[in-house]
């Protein structure tokens, strides 16, 4: 069975004056057509860098993709030239980013920023492109779109800007949309609107989505499958319901337990994970979670556990210990 996007053993590093940053250390995941994959993890765990690497959007230097393949419809994106990637970005894979304020060019009109993709990739002329841009703005819920085409980004509110970003991303009908924390910078009510918008469009056009977030609540609302990342590694992979009901990796368990819940007693302390994530300047050895894990054994220190199948189908975890039985896996 071939997936739409199949990434295997992706490794990305950054060479900084302070040393080498091991940002992504052997990430493997896949997305099928029309499927929504959520990527969860705390800041600095490598979720954004993985996706940027796939699209070759990492600045080289100081970045370097040292290994791995990213097969999109069977072709390795990591081996493509810049020219070839220009044809992929937009019509095949599109990306939206976290901060709509800084992600839109302040000196170009919204209309220009939407139509330039259309004219570059689909060869439309001015009139056709403008008409299509209008339709896109309507689709994402911008009122009075004909007036708004000639407006500049600073004349929009945060939520509207994100909608514009979505319109831009969808303009060439991509098969895969990568959304890098698109709602993190927005307030909660707008957040849900954006999530609902993407869900609606995704269902309409049968588009695959990779949704990066650190918010487990959003994941529940939008994802089919989830992967959990920690310190540049993928530590767990499961269907969304399965993940919430039967988390296997200690980190996932801890994450879920750290969530404040409405149905728990309010006078209990919130459970947090002791310690801090490891420094990415140190080449990883063994399991990255070992120092904070309450199930850690000697083997965890020396050998990095690979992603292996857990009890349920489609559920993989990178751990030496079975958290339920406390025995080795």
């Amino acid at each position: 069975m071939s997936s739409l996007l199949d990434v295997m053993d992706l490794r990305t590093r950054f060479h900084t004056p302070e040393g080498t940053v091991y940002a992504v250390n052997g990430a493997s995941f896949h997305v099928d057509e029309g499927e929504t994959l959520a990527v969860v993890g705390e800041s600095g765990c490598g979720k954004s860098v993985s996706m940027l690497s796939v699209l070759q959007l990492i600045a080289v230097p100081p970045g370097e993709i040292v290994g791995g393949v990213a097969l999109y419809r069977g072709q390795d994106l990591l081996r493509k030239s810049e020219r070839e990637m220009e044809a992929i970005r937009g019509p095949e894979i599109a990306m939206i980013f976290q901060d709509p304020m800084t992600s839109l060019n302040p000196v170009l009109t919204i209309g220009r920023q939407i139509t330039e993709s259309l004219r570059t990739h689909l060869g439309m002329d001015r009139k056709t492109a403008d008409a299509r841009a209008l339709a896109l703005l309507e689709m994402v819920g911008i009122s009075d779109p004909s007036d708004r085409l000639s407006d500049y980004p600073h004349q929009f509110s945060g939520g509207m800007r994100q909608r514009v970003m979505i319109a831009m991303a969808l303009s060439c009908n991509p098969s895969l949309l990568i959304a890098d924390e698109p709602t993190t910078a927005l307030d909660v009510t707008i957040q849900s609107q954006i999530v609902e918008l993407v869900t609606r469009i995704r269902d309409q056009v049968h588009m695959a989505v990779i949704w990066i977030t650190h918010d487990l609540g959003v994941v529940a609302g939008i994802a089919d499958r989830v992967i959990v990342m920690y310190a540049g590694f993928i530590v767990e992979e499961a269907g969304v319901n399965d993940l919430y009901e039967n988390p296997c990796h200690p980190y996932t368990t801890a994450l879920l337990e750290a969530l404040p819940r409405v149905d728990r007693r309010r006078d209990r302390r919130l459970k947090s994970i002791p310690g801090a994530p490891p420094s990415l300047l140190v080449e990883p050895h063994g399991c990255p979670f070992v120092l904070r894990c309450e199930h850690a054994i000697e083997r965890c220190r020396t050998e990095n556990p690979p992603l292996t199948a857990a009890r349920q189908a489609g559920h993989n975890t990178a751990c030496w210990v079975d958290t339920k039985t406390r025995g080795q896996r």
């Binding site: 699209l55 970005r89 980013f97 060019n105």
Partner: protein, 345 residues
């Protein structure tokens, strides 16, 4: 937007007044017009007194300032020393364009003296500015795109050197190489004196030829600093999120550099170009002296040396006005170019 323009102009007016006061005080405390006009022939006290009265120097300072500003043809002055003001004044004041008459070029109106030389300086300055801006954009963008490469380092080092050279050193060096050494080696060489060869006449070709070395000297320093500035602005812009978005849309490299990046990077350049005018004017002084270019810079030096305060004041005042107007133009152009300011709610 119009309100912004009007506001900027209104802000400039009190500034000009303050400058005029500063310059006036400077002129009064530093010049000795009697000595200048009369030279060494004024020894008799009576003559000194008469001249003092004629030039209106016996009046209190603020009155002299007012006369300088708005003239004295609306009042009477006392020319014959009997304590009674009877003759109508003849000065119209600088606000009406009367900067007085030159003490050195007897009786010639200051504005005329300056006007004869002004176009020559403007020619040099305009040419320099064009060379600087075009060159700096080319080099700055190229360096930014080739960051970390050997070329980038080399160009940066060269720019540093260019930026640190005193103008006269550049002038002398270029004169030595392109005029003296080239001549010695039998190569075609560039002229170093004046605006044209008097034997050939003031043709366009002659002027252009004579302009090469002066413009070179004047532009290298500015070119070096602009290039560095454009390079760092481009680098900063290229690191912005919206460039990443543009890349993720699969736009071509040309589009990203010349539309998305350049449009943002050029904004600060406008400001810098506008603020550079005083420096360029100063450079003109030294350059004109070395190349014997008949411009306002040399005029300034000559007349300062001979103590001709009205001409000196006139030049200083005109320069200040030019600088302020240029700044206003720069601000307005910047506000117009940046949509965030143009479309302020």
């Amino acid at each position: 937007m119009t309100r912004y323009i009007i506001r900027r102009f209104l802000q400039g007016i009190p500034l000009l007044f303050i400058i005029s006061v500063v310059l006036f005080v400077l002129m009064m405390t530093m010049g000795d017009p009697i000595a200048t006009m009369g030279g060494r022939s004024i020894t008799r006290q009576a003559d000194r007194v008469r001249l003092t009265r004629q030039l209106g120097l016996d009046k209190p300072l603020y009155v002299q300032y007012i006369y300088w500003l708005v003239g004295n043809d609306w009042t009477k002055v006392d020319l014959d020393g009997d304590g009674v003001a009877e003759t109508a004044g003849t000065r119209r004041g600088i606000l009406r364009g009367d900067f007085g008459t030159s003490l050195v070029n007897r009786g010639e109106p200051v504005l005329q003296v300056i006007w004869e030389r002004l176009p020559n300086t403007l020619l040099l300055m305009l040419a320099s500015e064009v060379v600087v801006v075009l060159g700096a954009f080319l080099v700055g963008i190229y360096s930014a795109l080739r960051q970390y490469s050997a070329w980038d380092h080399f160009i940066t080092a060269l720019l540093f050197i260019g930026y640190s050279m005193p103008i006269f050193f550049i002038a002398l060096l270029s004169m030595y190489i392109f005029a003296v050494l080239f001549k010695r080696w039998g190569l075609p060489y560039l002229p170093t004196v004046g605006m044209f060869d008097p034997q050939v006449g003031k043709t366009t070709g002659q002027v252009l030829l004579h302009m090469v070395l002066p413009v070179l000297s004047m532009s290298i320093v500015s070119f070096a600093s602009y290039s560095r500035y454009i390079r760092s602005t481009m680098l900063e812009v290229l690191g912005q999120d919206y460039i990443r978005t543009a890349k993720s849309k699969g736009l071509t490299r040309q589009d990203i550099i010349f539309v998305h990046a350049l449009k943002n990077a050029s904004l600060p350049i406008v400001t810098v170009v506008g603020l550079d005018l005083p420096f360029l004017l100063g450079g003109a002084v030294v350059t004109e002296r070395i190349f014997a270019w008949p411009g306002t810079g040399r005029l300034f030096l000559d007349h300062v040396a001979r103590g001709d305060m009205p001409v000196v004041m006139g030049i200083l005042m005109l320069i200040s006005v030019a600088v302020i107007i240029f700044q206003i133009i720069t601000d307005v152009v910047y506000a117009w170019l940046d949509p965030r300011i143009r479309y302020e709610a």
